[in-house]
Amino acid sequence: MSERIAIRGGHVIDPSNGIEGRHDLYLAEGRVVSLGTAPDGFTADRVISAEGQIVCPGFVDLCARLREPGYEHKAAIAGESEAAATGGITTLCCPPDTDPVIDTPAVVNLIRERAQQVGKTKVLPVGALTRGLKGKDLSQMSALKRAGCVAVSNAHAPMANTLVLRRALEYAASHDLLVVIRPEDPWLADQGCVHEGTTGTRLGLPGIPDAAETVAVAQVLALIEHTETRVHFAQLSCARTARMIARAQEKGALVSADVAAHQLHLTEMDIDGFNAMCHVRPPLRSSADRDALRTALKNGVITAICSDHQPHEPDAKLDAFPSTEPGMASLEMLLPLTLKLVDEDVLSLRQAIALLTQGPAAVMGIETGTLSAGVPADICIFDPESTWMVDGSTWQSSGRNTPYWGQTVKGRVTRTLLDGRVVFELQPNRR
């Protein structure tokens, strides 16, 4: 913990401080000490060479399911923490839809303690917005906040009605808690499992119209218009909702948004042939929607890219498409999929890193995602040019449910540091 580390020769990118360039980085007592020149009398116990690599704050993932407690047949905190470290993620928020639901301090404590024991990544539980996620009664938000919840959310579960939604938003605001909304109108979504569009029409798969998302966003925007509620819209999927949120931001609403990395690349076309690995919620939409989401990143309307990690056991994807469980395992895909946007000239490298660090940290209001002197030394070192194959040789997540399995991707984390400790180090023969 108290090891003094010098990270030498790396190309440091810290969007929060507007830093980009070749610098040495000095760490001590688990914190960042300085950038550029060593403080007086600093002698490194360990020198890490980052020559030819990017050194940046560890990534902050706003949505990753670890499946514990309750769904340990899919994954557990220990294994998914390893996966997060392998992916350069040093802080992640886990949604409340565990079993039991994160609606009591006991569950919050259980998750935090388990994550601390493993010590590979920092896990921030998001509390339930309503008791049991049933959408009817408010959760004990004050107690959840005291236990360490950074935000509250009803995850994928619907609210019983708009009155409960309004009160939940107001009550959360009175405790200065951020409300995370995954916008989807349950009635319009109905039994849908894919985007209501051309591929879904051809394959005869029940569709989720984009109106399911626009209606839900419109409802929340109307309800928070005259309150000081902070709302974060999670995993946007539609062009129209990105525009609605942009307009609300212009008018001064305290709203932010993120997008799942896969939504920036895949479209409804990818479900063709009933590819259950591309069964996700919200569904993959049209290429026009994908392009609009990319634009919203560039314009700063969407300020974070998350993994929306949902590991599954193999059986969850072995059935007729509508019966398979939605979601991808994607902690280890977050960096490669984000860097792909740089390769495709959508973002600069600095913008891409901001969307994984400063952006999501600001959404949650947490002191991370930066290399400012004095902050905990959560750091990611990666080689943006290194290619690797998505296969069992390096994959850490228990879930192998990704459409990228067997493909070669670019951008490889070589070291992850958490509070100044190396929690992941790529074995040389894997490079």
């Binding site: 209501e196 569009g197 051309t198 879904g200 029409t201 051809r202 394959l203 005869g204 798969l205 029940p206 569709g207 119209p209 076309m269 063709d272 042939g273 009933f274 590819n275 690995m277 059986d315 072995l318 059935d319 007729a320 498409f321 509508p322 019966s323 459409p403």
Partner: protein, 331 residues
């Protein structure tokens, strides 16, 4: 997985049918070959000894996860006339209700050394899923999956149309009713477009048309009489009772008033129009009895053709080398 793989799933490397899962992506030549082969089998079914030995020693499993009488019966007859052994398994009342997974059901049947699955399932993509996971020697025929495809029905429909109309090039075909939930309609649209029909129309209220239906290559109408103008073929779809509860339409009565096929409305079509229906029909809901039993109706011919068409498809998937004159080899 890319789209090419998805369609090639049903073709072997030589481009012959291995499975029969969807009409989409199959060539016009292949569809014509299926119809030509069915033509030769039609004569078999009219002989006193209605059997050919093409699938002797083979075991066909009718694996029905959804109830069906007509489709299962015609598949069974088709298999028996090809001299195959037939096993009917009705899973709606069997293993999966005990919690067995689809894959386990398939694995168990595979262990009994069967050669073909005819699958009907309530979920779109079930037949594709099974085809992707069965042992390499087994062929899968889609007997209807969710809203996705019912390709043998579409083939018997175009076979029936060809018998009456010959060429497809000048044909205007109207498909009427619940397109949204209809696997029959999707397969028919692909078959008719592949065979070069001049126009495929779909007619129904917006609540029963899929969002992107036009991308399937059809023109849409919400007025039955307008849509029937000058058509050569009318295909009526069954309106399922459960649609009444889902706020798709207000009542059977109003549905018949707007979209029910009557003699008067049929007069808008060409004088030699044929009226088809995949069955089972709801008299007085989507079709008037006078029309169903009238001179334009070919509904019972469809049922009859179903046997020859399914014999053709079964023999072609099991015997890709089959040349199209099996009638000569009749016992």
């Amino acid at each position: 997985m890319n789209p090419t793989q998805a369609y090639n799933l049903q073709l072997d490397p030589a481009g012959q049918l291995k499975h029969f899962l969807t009409v989409e992506g199959l060539s016009r030549d292949l569809l014509v070959k299926i119809m030509d082969t069915a033509e030769s089998f039609a004569s078999v079914t009219e002989q006193t000894v209605k059997k050919v030995p093409l699938l002797r020693g083979k075991t066909v499993v009718n694996l029905f996860f959804e109830n069906s009488t007509r489709t299962r019966t015609t598949f069974e007859l088709a298999a028996k006339r090809l001299s195959a052994d037939v096993l009917n398994i009705n899973i709606a009342t069997s293993a999966t209700s005990k919690g067995e997974s689809l894959l386990d059901t398939i694995r168990n049947l595979e262990a009994m050394h069967v050669d073909m699955f005819v699958v009907r399932h309530a979920e779109s993509g079930a037949a594709h899923f099974i085809a992707r996971h069965v042992a390499p020697h087994i062929s899968v025929i889609n007997g209807g999956d969710g809203r996705h495809a019912h390709p043998t029905q579409a083939m018997l429909d175009v076979f029936t149309i060809r018998k009456h109309k010959g060429d497809f090039g000048n044909l205007k075909v109207a498909i009427v009713g619940d397109i949204l939930h209809s696997r029959v309609a999707r397969s028919e649209i692909h078959a008719l477009n592949t065979l070069g029909a001049a126009e495929v129309r779909v007619i129904g209220p917006k609540t029963l048309l899929p969002a992107a239906v036009k991308t399937l290559g059809v023109t849409t109408f919400h007025d039955l009489e307008e849509g029937l103008e000058n058509v050569d073929v009318v295909i009526m779809l069954r309106l399922q009772k459960e649609r009444m509860s889902g706020a798709f339409i207000p009542s059977e009565h109003e549905y018949f008033a707007c979209f029910g096929l009557t003699e008067k409305r049929l007069a808008r079509a060409k004088p030699d129009v044929i009226v088809m229906h995949p069955g089972p029909i709801n008299r007085g809901v989507e079709i008037d009895s006078q029309v169903a039993d009238g001179s334009h109706s070919v509904i019972l011919q469809q049922v009859n053709h179903g046997i020859a068409v399914r014999m053709a498809i079964m023999s072609m998937t099991m015997r890709p080398d089959l040349e199209s004159s099996p009638g000569d080899k009749a016992l």
